[in-house]
Amino acid sequence: MVNAFREGLRRAMGAPRMLGVLVLVNVLFALPAAYTMSSILQSAIGPSLAERNLRQGFDAGWYGGFEFKAQGLATTFAPSLVGIGAVLNNAEALLDGSLLDGYAGVAAAGLAFLILWTFLNGGVLDCFRDERIFFSTSQFFGAGARYFGRFVRLLLMSGVLYFLLFRYAAPWMFRRVDAMTHNTTEERTVLALTAAAYLLVLFLFSLIAMVFDYAKISLVQRERRSAVAAAIEGARFVFHQPFRAFGLYCLGGVLFALAVVFYWIVAPGANQSRWYSVAGAFLLGQAFIIARLWVRLVFLASQTAFYTNASRSSISAA
C-alpha cells in the first residue's frame, strides 16, 4: 500500500504536462462564468462610490443591496467565497448532498464538467497504465475518446449509488442523529454524533468512488468491453483487500487535507487593492486548484499501481 502510494506520487510528479492540460481545462471551463460574474458585478457596482470600498476591501453595505436584488448567477456571490470559504462552501455542499441545489446554471455547469472529466479520466488512466509515463496530447485525448462510452456507463452506475447515498442514506443518518439527540442538552455529544454521521457519509462516498476508480482502472488495464464487468471487478477488488485499498485511499485523503490546511493558512482575504496583490491572491487560489488536481492524479496513479501490483501477485500465486 505504501509502495503503491509512493509509486503514485512518482507517476503524478512525472506527468506535469498532463497536469497542465487538466488545469487548463478547468480554467477554460471556468473563465466564461467568471467573465459573466465580472459583468454582473460591474453592473451592480455601476457608477457608484461603492467601487472604492470594494477595491480596497469588502463593502457589506453594498453587498446587502446586491444580495437583495440578486438573481441567477448573481445569487452564488457571497462574502464567504473569500479565502478558505471557497473550499469549505463546496465541501459542505458535497457532504450535505446539496451540490445540485441553488442556481440551476451552476449545477448544470458542474454536471457538464463531470462529463468532460469522465472523458479526461480515460487519458489519465491510459497515461498511468504502466510504470513508464508517456504523455502525448494526441494519445491522451485519443484514450479519452476510446474509453469515454464505457466510462459514461460506469458514471451512470455510480450515479445511482451516489443518488441513493445523498438523497436517502445521508438524510436518514442525520435524522437518526436528530432522533438520538432529541433530548441531549450537551452540544459536544450532538457534535460527536454529527461528525460521525459526516464521516460515515464521507466513507460511503469514498467507497463508491474507490470501487469505480478500480473499475475504470480494470477497464483500462484489461481493455474490458463491459462496464458492468468492470464495475463488478472494481467491487471485488476493493472488498478482497478492503483495508489496504481503503488505507491507500486515506493516504490520498491525507494529502488532500494537507493541501486544504496549507491553503487555509495562506489563503488571501479581501483586502487586496492593487493589481499585483489581486493577481497574487488569484494565483494563490490557482495554486490550490493545481494542488487539488494533482492530488486527484496521485489518487488515480497510486490506485493504478496498487491494482497492477495486486494483479501481478495473484497471477504469480496462481
Binding site: 478547468n26 473563465l31 462564468a33 467568471a34 467573465y35 460574474m37 465580472s38 459583468s39 458585478l41 451592480a44 457596482i45 455601476g46 457608477p47 457608484s48 462610490l49 461603492a50 467601487e51 477595491r55 476591501g57 469588502f58 457589506a60 453595505g61 446587502g64 443591496g65 446586491f66 452564488t76 464567504s80 467565497l81 473569500v82 479565502g83 478558505i84 470559504g85 471557497a86 473550499v87 463546496n90 465541501a91 458535497l94 451540490l99 458542474g110 464538467f113 472529466w117 479520466n121 450515479g159 433530548n183 442538552t185 450537551e186 452540544e187 450532538v190 457534535l191 468512488a209 482575504g269 479581501a270 483586502n271 489581486v278 491572491a281 488569484f282 490550490f288 486548484i289 487539488r292 486527484r296
Partner: protein, 673 residues
Amino acid sequence: MRRFHIAPFVLLLSVIGLLVPQAGHTQTPAGALSARNANYDIQVALDPRQKTLDGREVLTWRNETDAPATELWFHLYYNAWKNTQSTWLKEDSLRGARAKVRPEDWSYIDVSSVRVLPEAPFDAADLTSAKRFASPDDGNPEDQTVLIVPLPRPVGPKETIKVEVVFHSKIPRTFARTGYRGNYFFIAQWFPKVGVYQPDGKWNCHQFHAATEFFSDYGVYDVRMTVPRGYVLGATGVLKQKTENPEGTTTYEYFQEDVHDFAWTASERYLERTARFEEPGLPPVEMRLLLQPEHSSQAERHFAATRAALKHYGTWYGAYPYGHITIVDPAYDSGAGGMEYPTLFTAGSRWLNPEGGGSPEGVTVHEAGHQFWYGIVGNNEFEDAWLDEGFNTFSTARTMEAAFGENVYVRRYFRTFLPVLFRDIKLDRMIAGNRLDGYRNAIAQDAQSRPTYLYYPPVASTITYSKTALWLSTLERELGWETLQKILSTYFDRWKFKHPKPADFFAVANEVSGRDLTPFFDQVYRSSAIFDYAVQSVDSQPAAPRGYIDKDGGHIYSAPPAGDDAPPLYHSRIVLRRLGDGIWPVDVEVAFENGEKLRERWDGRERYQVYEYDGPSKIRYAIVDRERKLLLDVDYTNNSRLLEPRPEFAARKWASKWMVWFQDLLATFASFS
C-alpha cells in the same frame, strides 16, 4: 346670622385633596419604585419526569383606575401550544412549516380552582365554575390563552382583591423560549398572569400571538419552587430561603419587588459563576451566571458583555436599580436562548465560538439591555413591541461598537458546528447592528403604528427590531447623539416602572429636541413609506454655448473656443431622484476634479431635483446623504455616481475570487467521476 368660617373648611378640603389620589394616576406605595398593583405569592412544584408543574398562586390585585372591575382577565400562555387550533400556532404556520411535534412536546395550563380569599371588603367566593375562555383579538373559539373570571362584586377604584388560583401545567418542549429539553427546564410565562386593567374600564389582555411578547403590571413576587434535589435553580429576584425537603426535593424561595414578570430555570448541569459590576457613578450589581459546562471557558465573555450593557445603558439612560442580575446560558438547542425577564435573561452560545464574531456578546448585551427597555420601562409588547425591541436593538448596536468594536462576518459550516471568521469582512453598527438587510428583505410591510399583534407574522420582527433601530440611528445622526441620548434618558426617567405608549415617546422627543419631529414620525411610524434617494445622472460639458447666437440682427454660429490658450469652462449638472414614497431632507455633496466640494441641502419633496454649476472643473462625483443619515434608504448604491466610473477593477477583483470558488466547485463535481 352666624358667620360661616370658610377657611377651616377649605383647609380641610385641601388636606383631603392631598390625601386622595388624583383620578387616573397610578399611586406608588411609599419606598416602592412602581405601583405594585399585581403581586404574586406562588408555590410550584416541578415534576421533571412528567414535565409538569403544579402550582398555587395568590394574586393580590389592586384596581388602579377609577373604573370598577367586574372581572379579572388572565393570560394562560401555555395553552398557545395546546394544539394546532390556537391562534399562536395558526399564525406561526405563516412563518413556515414547523418540524414534527411529538406527543410529549405539547403543553397546556389547566386552572382547577379560582377562589376569592376573604379579605375586606371581599367575602370568600368560589369562582371556578364561572371562569370562561375568551378570544378578544380574533374570535378564535379554540384559543384558550385568555381566561375571564367574573367577580361576585366589582373591585372598586383603589380596592384590593386577593384571589387564589390553583393550576396544573404541562411544560412544552420549547416552541418559543419556554420549555424543556431533556432535564433542562426554562420556565417562563408559566402561571396565570393577570392582564392590565385600563382607565377606560377595559382589560388589556391579548391572546398570545406568534409575533408578540408580553404585557403586565408591576408588583412583588414571592415564589417558592420545589425541584428534585441536585438541580441548580435560577430565578427572577434574590434567593430568600432554601429548604431541603425530606422527600428528596429542594424548595427555593425567590423574592423580587417592582417587576412585572417572573421566570426561572432548573438544570442538573449548570455551573455557577459570580462576578460584580462596578462603575463610578452607577450602583454596583451582583452578577450570577448559570453556565453550561462546555462553555466554561466563556464565563468572562458573558460577564464582560453584561458589564458593557449595565455600564452603557446605565450611563446613557439611567441606572439599573435592582442590585443583582442572573445570566442564563441555556442548554444546547433548548430554544430558550435570547430572551429577557426581569433581573434574569438568557443569552446563548456554542461550544466553538471564536471571539470577534459577536457571539455570545451580542445576544448577552441585547438581553441584558432589555432590563431597561421592557423591564424598567414597561411598554405593551402586544401592541407596541418596537418601543422595547427597536430601542434595544439600537442600544445594543451602540454598546457593541463602544465595548467590542466592529464584528466580523461569521459563517457556520456543517450543520452550524464549525464557525469560520472572515476577519476582512467587517460588519459595522449602522448596517449590520441595526439590521438593515432584514428590513430591506421585508419592505412591503405594515405601518409601525399598527398594533404589533396585527403585523403579518413573517415580517413582524423587521418592523419592531430593524425599522425602529434604523430610524433611531437616523435621528441620532440628524439631531446628534447628545440630543438623542437626552431624549432617551428623559423618556426613561419619566416612564420607568410605567406603561408608556408611542405618543409618550414622541412627546418627549419633541420636547427635548426643541423641534417638531412629527413629520419624521409620520413617515417612519405612521406610514410604511419606503425611502430611496438616488443620483440619476451627472454630466459636465464645455460651458460655451453651441449653435446659432443672435448678433447684430442676424445669426452667427458659435462653437467652443479652440486652442490651448482657451480657459476651460464647464457646465455641470446633476439630477437627483426620489424613487420611494418616503420624504426626508438630504444633504448632497458634489465633488469636482480640482478638489472643490460643494454641499447642497435638498428638501427631498419633489420626485427630482436638478443642480447646475459653471466652473473651471468637471464634476468628479455626486452623492446624496454622504454621512448616511437616512439609514432607511433601501438602496445606498444608487446614492452616488461618478462622472467617469471605473468599476472594472473592483468587479474583476471579486470575480477572480468567485472564479477560484467556481473552479473548486468544478473539481468537486469531478470527484464523482
